[in-house]
């Protein structure tokens, strides 16, 4: 299996000026796993487990909706620091 993870990084290089599009239509492809960092701020009072539970169900929904690219895949939510 070709590792998608090692896809070249510089494909999406957005011009520094003007109005950059973060995700070009070209890159809106569920097989193309090129985004390597996602961070989120938990709402106050919510626990990591609550976030994980919801992201799990979202992940399952995605896997159901797009089996070609996402069957068996899930979502990992981790603390940035222990």
């Amino acid at each position: 299996m070709r590792s998608i993870v090692e896809a070249p990084r510089s494909i999406v290089e957005v011009p520094n000026s003007g109005s950059p599009l973060a995700f070009r239509p070209l890159n809106l492809n569920r097989d193309y796993r090129f985004v390597n960092a996602s961070f989120a701020l938990l709402k106050p009072g919510l626990s990591l487990d609550q976030a994980r539970a919801q992201m799990d169900s979202i992940g399952k929904q995605i896997a159901t909706d797009y089996p070609d690219s996402n069957r068996g895949w899930g979502i990992a939510v981790e603390r940035t620091r222990t």
């Binding site: 998608i4 993870v5 990084r9 510089s10 999406v12 290089e13 957005v14 520094n16 109005s19 950059p20 599009l21 973060a22 995700f23 890159n27 809106l28 492809n29 569920r30 097989d31 193309y32 796993r33 090129f34 985004v35 390597n36 960092a37 996602s38 961070f39 989120a40 701020l41 938990l42 709402k43 106050p44 919510l46 990591l48 609550q50 976030a51 919801q54 992201m55 979202i58 992940g59 929904q61 995605i62 690219s69 996402n70 069957r71 068996g72 895949w73 899930g74 979502i75 990992a76 939510v77 981790e78 603390r79 940035t80 620091r81 222990t82």
Partner: protein, 360 residues
């Protein structure tokens, strides 16, 4: 007579004598005690003074300087209320005990002794001279008495000395009474250690160097662990910032696709903000901070994009926040400071990206 028993007995005798006679100096006490014991007690009169100090430290007696019958300066000892209580307790104890050896109980006033000693540390020198003048007075008086009985000056002096017992022992016992055992032991240990180290400079240097290296490495390692693992990220609510990745069927985490990210952001209700970034570029990310519109201001890297939504919680620790940037751009010349800020922001982004290696 064993020494300990003597000490306890002597304490009690002194207390009782003071209770019976009122304020009294050392010489008077010694005479009275010898008289009462009717020669049964072979008292070295010098031992009286450490005992008096001991009792004073327990605050059973107090002392003050006064003038004796023969118009000389003498230290007078007087029973305190505490001392009176002590006598009562001792007497009761003797009654119930069936009359043991009459020792003044050690526990009673044990804490007071320590405090008394701590206070006495500060007047050690004065107490020392006090002892000397008391001994001199006592000795002179005994000598005068012996002469009055018809002894030659030399014999009188010798007799007085005999009655007093060893002066050096008395002074030693008195000074022991002024020490705080732990403190003095530690001081001696330190002094000894310094002396040994000074004697072997080579060894000392090696020992100090090894200690220094050990302390340095321990500190360094801890600083590193603290910065990398323990401290929350240097953002307000840094403990609420989480990392989200995809999980492959085999369980390992993985990079993810743009549509997946957009789905996550659209469907979750647990996160206040969410942002993504592709390593190596500054702009290929989207923040929820702009109502979904692409963000072009997050030069400072990803965390900043998580944080920079306008509102009270938008303090940016590195680089610039979104709200402040336009204003700064307008008011500040594109000088060195600007370049430095940009540079710093970029390096933060690099550092930050390095935390989120896809293999983790």
């Amino acid at each position: 007579m064993p020494r300990e028993v003597l000490q306890g007995t002597l304490d009690l005798m002194v207390l009782r004598t003071l209770a019976a006679m009122g304020p009294q100096h050392g010489l008077g006490l010694a005479k009275r005690i010898l008289q009462v014991s009717e020669g049964l007690l072979d008292l070295n009169q010098g031992t009286l003074y450490p005992a008096l100090l001991r009792l004073e430290q327990r605050r059973w007696i107090t002392s003050r300087w006064g003038v004796s019958d023969n118009n000389r300066k003498a230290k007078f000892y007087e029973l305190t209320a505490r001392g009176r209580r002590q006598i009562r307790e001792e007497t009761e104890e003797l009654g119930t005990d069936g009359g043991s050896n009459g020792q003044v109980s050690r526990q009673a006033g044990g804490r007071a002794v320590i405090w008394g000693r701590v206070i006495d540390v500060f007047r050690r020198r004065r107490l020392d001279t006090d002892l000397d003048s008391q001994l001199a007075y006592h000795l002179d008086a005994l000598e005068a008495e012996a002469r009055a009985q018809g002894l030659s000056p030399d014999d009188a002096r010798a007799a007085a000395r005999r009655a007093m017992g060893g002066l050096t022992q008395t002074q030693d016992a008195y000074r022991d009474q002024l020490r705080i055992p732990i403190v003095d032991a530690i001081r001696q240990d330190v002094r000894y250690g310094c002396r040994v180290l000074a004697r072997n400079p080579g060894f000392s240097v090696v020992a100090v160097a090894i200690l220094a290296i050990g302390i340095t490495s321990a500190t360094t390692i801890f600083s590193f662990v603290d910065a990398v693992l323990l401290k929350p990220l240097p953002y307000e609510n840094g403990d609420r910032i989480v990392r989200i990745l995809e999980r492959r069927p085999d369980g390992a985490t993985s990079w993810f696709s743009a549509p997946a990210f957009l789905d996550w952001r659209a469907n979750n209700t647990v996160f206040e903000k969410m942002a993504a970034q592709q390593q190596g570029t500054r702009h290929a990310h989207q923040c929820s901070g702009h109502g979904g519109a692409p963000c072009r201001a997050c030069h400072g890297g990803l965390l900043q994009s998580v944080r920079h939504q306008s509102g009270p919680r938008t303090n940016v620790c590195r680089g610039r926040g979104y709200a402040g940037q336009g204003a700064r751009r307008r008011t500040e010349p594109r000088g060195l400071a600007h370049a430095v800020r940009r540079r710093r922001a970029a390096s933060w982004a690099r550092r930050f990206s390095s935390i989120t290696s896809p293999t983790r």
